[in-house]
Symmetry: none
């Protein structure tokens, strides 16, 4: 059933209708309404079902390298054709529908955050990272620029861009460093 996000790719999430999904899926509308209370949550489920082989973290001993690798992977995923625009649409929908926002957080953002934080915690224990850092904050700082690029300025996300962000973050931005 979720396979009918084929439609989302064809005509775009905004023009997607539950009516059309039902028709494409050869299902009654009721069957869809029985399972999902709104278009947004149907779409979220569909999108996440594509991504079951989740983004897992490597642990090579070098935090910075591992973060870089993981962000490469995440961004490659989000930038690759099917996902990118659909993920943008999903975040867009979350701005209108609190249920989607909550589900997006619980089902995707939080798990990813937790993995990142776990990796950082290990690094903290090994002294690679300052022990008094708020790791949730670090997550926001690492992800933020990428989301800004994705949602606001809509730049294409290259590995080079990620490198420059990470360099700026870790070599510091003010001349005292």
């Amino acid at each position: 059933m979720q396979a009918t996000l084929a439609l989302a790719q064809e005509i775009g999430y905004a023009r997607l209708s539950i009516e059309a999904v039902a028709a494409r899926a050869g299902a009654g509308k009721h069957t869809i309404y029985r399972r999902w209370p709104s278009k947004g949550l149907l779409f979220l489920d569909s999108l996440l079902s594509l991504n079951e082989p989740v983004l897992d973290y490597p642990d090579t001993g070098d935090v910075l390298a591992d973060l870089r690798e993981q962000i490469y992977a995440a961004v490659d995923l989000l930038a690759s054709p099917p996902w990118g625009p659909l993920y943008r649409a999903l975040i867009g929908e979350a701005q209108h529908d609190p249920a989607v926002a909550a589900a997006l957080n619980d089902r995707f953002i939080r798990p990813q955050t937790d993995k990142t934080i776990a990796r950082l915690k290990t690094a903290q224990d090994q002294g690679q990272v300052s022990p008094d850092l708020d790791l949730d904050l670090v997550m926001a700082i690492l992800s933020g620029p990428l989301y800004f690029g994705l949602l606001i300025t809509q730049e294409s996300m290259t590995h080079d861009y990620i490198d420059r962000v990470l360099d700026a973050l870790f070599t510091g931005m003010s001349p005292r460093h």
Copy 2:
């Protein structure tokens, strides 16, 4: 006419219809379609019209303090009741409608970015900021965490949160600093 974003506050952007706006404004639908090609752009115009006294940059000589002040101001604006949810809705719409995304960039994001970059450039000239920094990147790094908090995790934006972000960014995140 734009004053009818009163409706957006009352029922939310998602439930807003051009039909209702026209009725509320005592105008014909045609009159609205004549001026704005879509609900998104009408809403963008309306929202920006509220904000004409734009966020200008102080220059006290201390970049860091100035940035902090400016971000305080921006976040206070976005967090205050009318704006916050509406701005979120606007960014949400931008994810579905390229015209809104482009207009949002041109009419709001870019001007703000330009002001920030101008202020940073001054600081760079005065040696307060490393001369080889990509200032566009700095903008993404400064704004990103705030947008992440606004759009994704939907935390309430306090001055304290901003302080912690800025501290982390400027005192550095790895223990070598």
Copy 3:
């Protein structure tokens, strides 16, 4: 099960659904479909089950008086609250569904007609009624005005009305009589 024409009285035949009947009866829809092929026939069965103490004919020796009594009884039944509107609905359904029309004829109309005709036959044999009358026709002539009042003009059926119909029929309508 038929007891759920309670529902028909509550919400009216037109709004009656097999789904609701099943729910009210605490039965599965299948169980109902197993017994009745359509809403109309279910309703017909239910309605007739109410009426088992059928309208039987008196035979006092006076045809006219007997007819009058029998029509009184029929009309009192049809005019009394539960029956009247439900019987009208049943005849209405018969106009749309040939199976209901046929069953209505076979199970209710014909038996009543047969009784009337039998009584008239007796009278004919006794010379109280002209021997060359088509008794089926007489049935139509006697019942017709009542059905006209019930279905078309929707007058309330009083004994007085019946008397006036019978008087007109039997004293004749043209001045030559």
Copy 4:
């Protein structure tokens, strides 16, 4: 628009849907709902629009002959293919929907009744008909058997059948005549 009772002839009134009418007419459903509050009233309007050349009464001076002619005409109309089943369906609908019943009376039954009564009144004045007859009652007596045959026993209405009804009514039914 009403021309889309073509659909009623094709698939029958019972299976008729406003949705299908709108599609066939190339109209939006709203346009139909704007004009008619229900399927029944739409159908009634459509049906009556076919019949504008109404059944008018001849006046040859002989009431009985005139009545006969008029009933011939009415029954020929109702028996001819398009009308018969549709008129039956309309009366059926009137049993479920009081608005249809009222409109049917006001727009079709009453005018026809009035014409008949006017003709009878003339005859009464000329002494062709007993002066103390309730003419409304006569209408019920004349129409009733025909409606009984149409709606209940569903006999085909021949001129011969009408003749027999009228003969029975006017030559009287009891042997005293």
